[in-house]
């Protein structure tokens, strides 16, 4: 990767993550990787619903202008066109904000795409509180909605390293895939030895005292919190569940059995998302342990910066550290 793709710093654009201070970041890993991959895979097309800039698909547009289509502010049409193109032999990568894919185009994702195992790969931008435009733009229940669709694969990548692997991997995952994408300067959190495998949860930090089960960029925050907690005598392990569906129940259960207490963390409501999946799995397996849910309440959320919102709604780093160290 060229030097110009990396940056260290805190200046952020629309919908960029806050966890960049002192960290290496990569610019537009989704769009740049897609542009690369499309050189190898001529059947790839890219689409957006007037969210090219804010989904990072523009590097693909610039590299493959004849295979890029902006359908305008028409998310139902975006998904229908992607489905139709896939049924004529294409792999259709499409982008807009998570809220518009899930709330507005749900029937089309379900029936036009997933039911037909259509090769549609949805990179849904700014999930959860990454978007500061309030409830209209914050997809805080998208996992809950999308996990209700049969035959749909759902992935919540942690960082640039994983997102780039996901862009490539989904081309070979049969059927429709929903990815909670990350944009802008995306932090590089996982080591170069990290290997994304669809349907496989991975331990990204070992520990003895507390087990944290998390997804998306919250896994990096959980690891940072575990590092901070280590100075206070608590050794936390972090299991990163990047594939929400199919859910890696086996790995989650074997991980959970090792610890006296658990934490589940997600950039999503604590109802219907990862916490619900984990609790269902634990209950069915007869595993009852103290468990703290870090995530959003069943509410609508206000506008504001990501720092402000995450502190207000208690999904920030201090919240993680408190959960690990104090067990509350």
């Amino acid at each position: 990767m060229a030097e110009a793709l990396h940056a260290v710093g805190r200046t952020r654009g629309m919908g960029e993550l806050i966890d960049v201070e002192g960290k290496v970041t990569e610019i537009a890993p989704f769009g740049r990787t897609l542009a690369e991959l499309a050189h190898e895979r001529p059947e790839i097309v890219g689409l957006t619903a007037d969210m090219g800039r804010y989904s990072d698909i523009l590097p693909f547009r610039d590299a493959h202008p004849n295979r890029f289509f902006n359908v305008g502010m028409a998310e139902q049409d975006l998904i229908m066109i992607a489905a139709g193109m896939s049924k004529a032999g294409k792999i259709a990568y499409c982008t807009t904000y998570s809220v518009f894919i899930t709330r507005r185009a749900y029937d089309f994702v379900s029936i036009a795409c997933a039911h037909s195992m259509a090769n549609v790969k949805i990179f849904a931008g700014m999930p959860g509180l990454v978007n500061g435009y309030g409830a209209t733009h914050q997809a805080t229940e998208d996992i809950n909605m999308m996990r209700g669709i049969a035959d749909l694969t759902i992935i919540d990548p942690c960082d640039a390293t994983e997102l780039k692997q996901v862009v490539r991997a989904v081309a070979d995952i049969p059927g429709t895939v929903y990815v909670r994408s990350l944009r802008g300067k995306v932090p590089v959190e996982l080591g170069s030895d990290y290997k994304f495998e669809v349907g496989k949860a991975k331990i990204i930090r070992e520990g003895r005292d507390v087990g944290v089960i998390s997804t998306g960029y919250m896994s990096a925050r959980a690891r940072d919190a575990a590092d901070a907690a280590a100075g206070q005598g608590l050794d936390a392990a972090v299991l990163h569940v990047s594939t929400i569906k199919p859910f890696d129940k086996e790995t989650v259960l074997s991980f959970a059995q090792r610890f006296d207490r658990l934490i589940v963390a997600e950039n999503h409501k604590t109802t219907g998302g990862l916490a619900t999946l984990v609790i269902e799995a634990l209950y069915e397996a007869g595993i009852m342990k103290p468990l703290i849910k870090i995530g959003l309440a069943d509410s609508f959320f206000e506008c504001g910066s990501q720092e402000y919102l995450e502190a207000k709604y208690q999904v920030d780093l201090p919240r993680f550290v408190r959960a690990i160290v104090e067990g509350r």
Partner: protein, 280 residues
């Protein structure tokens, strides 16, 4: 005008009418004894389907996924009785399977699913067809394929906003390999079409489509409209078809215009006799 993909210069109207009659016979046989069904819509669409499958479309029933086939998308999946009839007539389905239509466990349910040979999309959730047809049209253009895309959708379906998103997209992306076949039969689930839909043709013209309005039960008019729709001038083509539900069976044509027509078991033989008499 492109030289690709042209059907015969001189359509055999008499033969096509014979195909339409055969489709209507199949539909009445499939519906017989079921007591209910979308028989009225199916009978209304028989002429269009005969014109498509036995004149206009290029396809190979032995190779349903042939990449350069013309695609026909039935957006109104509940017209499945008509789709199965034409798929059997065209050789995709064995005619002996047709009596299972609508029965539990059948491969031929009351709505169309794309695991059936010759069915391109899951129909039935209205407002899904045209957008997928636009996507197919765009993909085929990217590939330089001579294949064309034909999408049936209905007047009731025009109430779905997604149809208009797709209509805009088709013009934007210059989908002149796409033909919209709009079945205006005047009925929807609760009875007559309730929302002010007309003027349908003017709406599509305003959206950038090359539009024509025909009697959808007039074979000559249908074949002529399909021929005109071959022109590749950058504009998607719309054929607004005014069809009569139950066409060919006077009792059904006269019955209260209903989306889901009820027929007593004792009536089927007389309905079949009416069809033969009308075409006698």
């Amino acid at each position: 005008m492109s030289t690709l993909n042209h059907p015969p210069e001189n359509p055999d109207i008499r033969a096509l009418k014979g195909r339409a009659l055969s489709l209507r016979r199949k539909m009445l046989n499939m519906a017989s004894g079921k007591g209910e069904g979308y028989i009225a819509q199916g009978l209304g669409m028989a002429d269009c389907l005969a014109a498509l499958y036995f004149h206009e479309l290029r396809y190979d029933p032995a190779d349903p996924k042939w990449q350069d086939r013309d695609r026909f998308l039935l957006s109104t999946g509940h017209y499945s009785i008509a789709m199965y009839a034409v798929l059997a007539e065209a050789g995709y389905l064995d005619e002996t399977e047709l009596p299972t239509y609508g029965l539990n466990g059948s491969r031929l349910p009351m709505s169309t699913f794309d695991d059936i040979p010759g069915v391109e999309i899951v129909g039935g959730s209205l407002g899904h067809g045209l957008g997928q047809a636009v996507g197919m049209s765009m993909a085929l253009k990217v590939d330089g394929s001579p294949a064309r895309v034909f999408c049936e959708f209905s007047d009731g379906e025009l109430q779905e906003g997604s149809t208009w998103e797709a209509a805009m997209g088709a013009a934007t992306f210059k989908c002149d390999n796409l033909v919209g076949l709009i079945d205006c039969n005047g009925i929807q689930a609760d009875g007559p079409v309730t929302v002010k839909i007309d003027p349908v043709a003017d709406k599509f013209t305003a959206f950038g489509w090359d539009t024509v309005e025909v009697n959808g039960n007039d074979m000559e008019a249908l074949v002529s409209a399909l021929a005109n729709a071959r022109e590749q001038d950058g504009r998607p083509k719309a054929i607004v078809m005014r069809t009569t539900p139950g066409f060919g069976v006077p009792t059904l044509m006269a019955r209260e215009r209903a989306h889901f027509v009820r027929v007593d078991n004792s009536e089927w033989d007389s309905l079949k006799a009416e069809l033969e008499k009308e075409n006698g």
